[in-house]
């Protein structure tokens, strides 16, 4: 389970996230590909998303401002219309009373029969009147027409009466008075012939006024009502009635024209308030017309739209994020892979260079050392000959041992100089057609006895379809010999050696030499082709075998790679061109 998860992660997770080839690090263009990746994504996202976010916010701001302005205007217009209706309602009735009082005069109005007739006519003309009465300047009701018997009542202490005395006319607040039913009193003052004044008073039902106001109500969240200047509700409010019939929002500041403002209600919800202080031409009133709308209700269309825009915005942002992430990942990975190839090439080039210069040095050293070595060898040999052949010192094993050790040392140095010279030699490559299968068989033949003795299974699989290779026989032979030798040294008795070949396109052939021996540790894997690198004990290996092989493969215009796991074995892969291309002549 964990394994397949890891494999999935490996397939999705880009290569640069698990870069462990530290030997390539100095050759990379970007040192930290994860950081480059992160920066790329960050910059691209900022470039794409910041303008989008800013534009959206500005757009929201503009829309909201324009909606606010529009809402205020509409609220103000509504309040203005309602104000006109209420004003007209009151003015109309005041005008009717003024006309009646001027036309009829005190004497006729105090006649109860006439007063009832006037009431009937007014009811027919305007409706909404309950009763009509004439009140003397003492505040005592003189004549009354209407359903209640209120004759003789004293109104001198009523606020409306005092106001009427001052202003010639008045409109009361809505109150219940003696009868216990909400009503408005409108009254006009007139003079009697004897110079004293009297008041014609009418009681208006509030029903009509409430109906008039209700007709201006628009939408579910709108409320329209009258309050007095202390905030006491004059007509019922649907949403804003607080304690003791007071409205639960503050009384607006005085203004002589209709206004609309933004505010918040008691629960903090934004509201729009349109208001107007109502004054008639004939008498002032204490009414304030209130139009209150919940902003949320008016903004609903916009909020719905905004929610859609938000969804769209979120979805777009998500797509942008995904596309940028994927694109960046793919691009950075591509760059990483190209960079990695470049780094590998540079490492290989450096190694070639190193190998070439070491080769030249090695050849020089080998030449210089080889002649004295030969001389030492012959001289020591001669001394030994003298001892052994001339019988004189034959019995002295000590001397012989010393001389033998000199000769052994020379032989060992001789091996090194010979290999160094082979490594450095630049003989022309002489090509001839070679059957790879036969050549491998020849090389394996060298080791047949050893394999039988050590119980090593050798498996060779070279298909007949592999064509003849145009290459240098001697060099190819040595390459295969070196690699097979190498494998034989690496494996224990009873292991196996697998030699396999396959075509790599029509132009190249690939030769695999695989063993299940001790393997090469990761730290050593990069160094196996370096000259003088050996893990064998001193004196047992020269550390030149694989570097010579490497040089030979290069000379044949091929390529050699190695894969290995400690304890599991090693595979050398030699890729060779089927035909060595002639070098272009300059």
């Amino acid at each position: 389970m964990m394994k397949s998860l890891n494999r999935l992660r490996g397939a999705i997770w880009p290569r640069f996230h698990r870069n462990h080839d530290e030997h390539l690090n100095p050759y990379y263009t970007f040192q930290d590909y994860r950081q480059t990746w992160g920066m790329t994504i960050f910059i691209l996202m900022m470039t794409a998303l910041v303008p989008l976010v800013v534009m959206t916010l500005i757009y929201y701001q503009l829309i909201e401002t324009s909606i606010n302005t529009e809402s205020l205007l509409r609220t103000e217009r509504l309040a203005s219309n309602a104000r006109r209706a209420v004003t007209f309602f009151l003015e109309e009735r005041l005008a009717a009373l003024t006309f009646t009082v001027n036309e009829m005069g005190y004497d006729r109005l105090t006649n109860p029969g006439r007063l009832s007739e006037v009431l009937r006519n007014l009811k027919l003309g305007f409706g909404g009147l309950t009763d009509l009465s004439v009140i003397a300047d003492t505040g005592t009701q003189v004549t009354y027409a209407g359903p209640f018997n209120l004759e003789g009542k004293d109104y001198s202490n009523q606020p409306w009466f005092m106001e009427c005395h001052q202003h010639n006319a008045c409109v009361s607040e809505i109150f219940s008075g003696y009868r216990g039913v909400p009503h408005i009193v409108v009254a006009v003052k007139s003079m009697r012939p004897d110079g004293r004044f009297f008041v014609l008073r009418a009681t208006l039902e509030t029903e009509r006024l409430i109906q008039t106001l209700s007709s201006y109500k628009t939408g579910e969240h709108a409320d329209i009502f009258l309050v007095n200047r202390d905030g006491l509700l004059q007509t019922p409010s649907q949403f804003y009635e607080g304690e003791f019939h007071h409205m639960n929002i503050p009384v607006p500041a005085y203004s002589d024209r209709t206004r609309a403002v933004m505010s918040t209600d008691r629960s903090g919800q934004p509201i729009l308030i349109g208001y107007a202080f109502i004054d008639t031409k004939i008498a002032p009133t204490s009414f304030i017309l209130m139009v209150v709308k919940q902003k949320a209700g008016m903004m609903k269309v916009w909020l719905d739209l905004r929610s859609n825009i938000n969804w769209f915005f979120g979805f777009s942002a998500l797509i942008i994020v995904v596309v940028i992430t994927l694109t960046s990942t793919v691009m950075v990975n591509k760059i990483f892979q190209a960079d990695r190839q470049k780094a590998e090439t540079m490492v290989a080039a450096e190694r070639n260079c190193q190998l070439a210069s070491i080769g030249q040095l090695a050849a020089g050293v080998a030449h210089e050392i080889n002649n004295p070595l030969a001389l030492i060898n012959e001289t020591a040999g001669y001394v030994k000959d003298l001892f052994t052949i001339k019988q004189q010192y034959k019995e002295d094993p000590d001397l012989l041992e010393h001389i033998d050790s000199i000769i052994d040392a020379v032989a060992r140095c001789g091996t090194i100089t010979r290999q160094l010279l082979g490594f450095a030699r630049h003989f022309d490559v002489q090509t001839q057609p070679i059957n790879l299968k036969d050549m491998v068989a020849d090389v394996i033949n060298f080791h047949k006895k050893e394999a039988e003795y050590r119980n090593i299974k050798i498996h060779v699989d070279i298909p007949e379809t592999i064509p003849l290779i145009e290459t240098d026989r001697g060099k190819l032979q040595q390459i295969i010999l070196n690699l097979v030798n190498n494998a034989f040294q690496a494996i224990d008795n009873g292991c196996f050696l697998d030699v396999r070949a396959e075509m790599d396109g029509p132009e190249q052939v690939r030769l695999f030499i695989r063993d299940n021996g001790c393997g090469i540790s990761e730290e050593h894997l990069n160094k196996v082709f370096e000259p003088f690198f050996t893990t064998k004990k001193e004196g047992q290996g020269t550390g030149l075998g694989l570097s010579i092989t490497y040089g030979l493969v290069q000379k044949l215009h091929g390529n050699i790679t190695v894969q290995s796991k400690t304890g599991q074995g090693t595979t050398f892969v030699v890729t060779l061109p089927v035909q060595i291309k002639k070098e272009t002549q300059s």
Partner: protein, 127 residues
């Protein structure tokens, strides 16, 4: 057995000649190809010539060609200080008669014995 030894490394050649002499092989030493040619031209006969491949003047390979013309029965052993046998396989017939320096005297003796035994008679018959 009479051997002609040609090598420009004088000390080496003399020392090798001494060792061969100890093994009862009559050896004449020359330090250049020209001197060796002269001797053979004067009518001196040798069974085997041991030649260094790289010498100033006439090199081993060229010397072998010229000596072969003068005495077709002569056998040749090459000495080389420049690498192993395998590198010389291309282009040279007698690959088995190449011996790298430093020498193993036993190897040289074996080669000399092999050359002067069986094949000599056959070569004579062919000639």
């Amino acid at each position: 057995m009479k051997v002609l030894l040609v090598d420009d490394e004088q000390k080496f050649a003399l020392m090798l000649a001494k060792r061969l002499a100890l093994r009862e092989i009559q050896t004449e030493v020359f330090f250049s190809g020209e001197k060796a040619l002269e001797t053979v031209q004067q009518g001196n006969r040798f069974d085997v010539a041991i030649l260094d491949v790289k010498m100033p003047g006439i090199g081993g390979i060229e010397l072998k060609r010229r000596l072969g013309l003068l005495d077709p029965a002569m056998k040749f052993v090459f000495l080389t200080g420049h690498g192993s046998k395998m590198d010389y396989t291309a282009g040279v017939q007698e690959a088995e008669n190449y011996l790298p320096k430093p020498l193993q005297i036993e190897e040289l003796m074996e080669t000399l014995n092999r050359l002067t035994e069986g094949p000599t008679a056959a070569a004579d018959l062919d000639g």
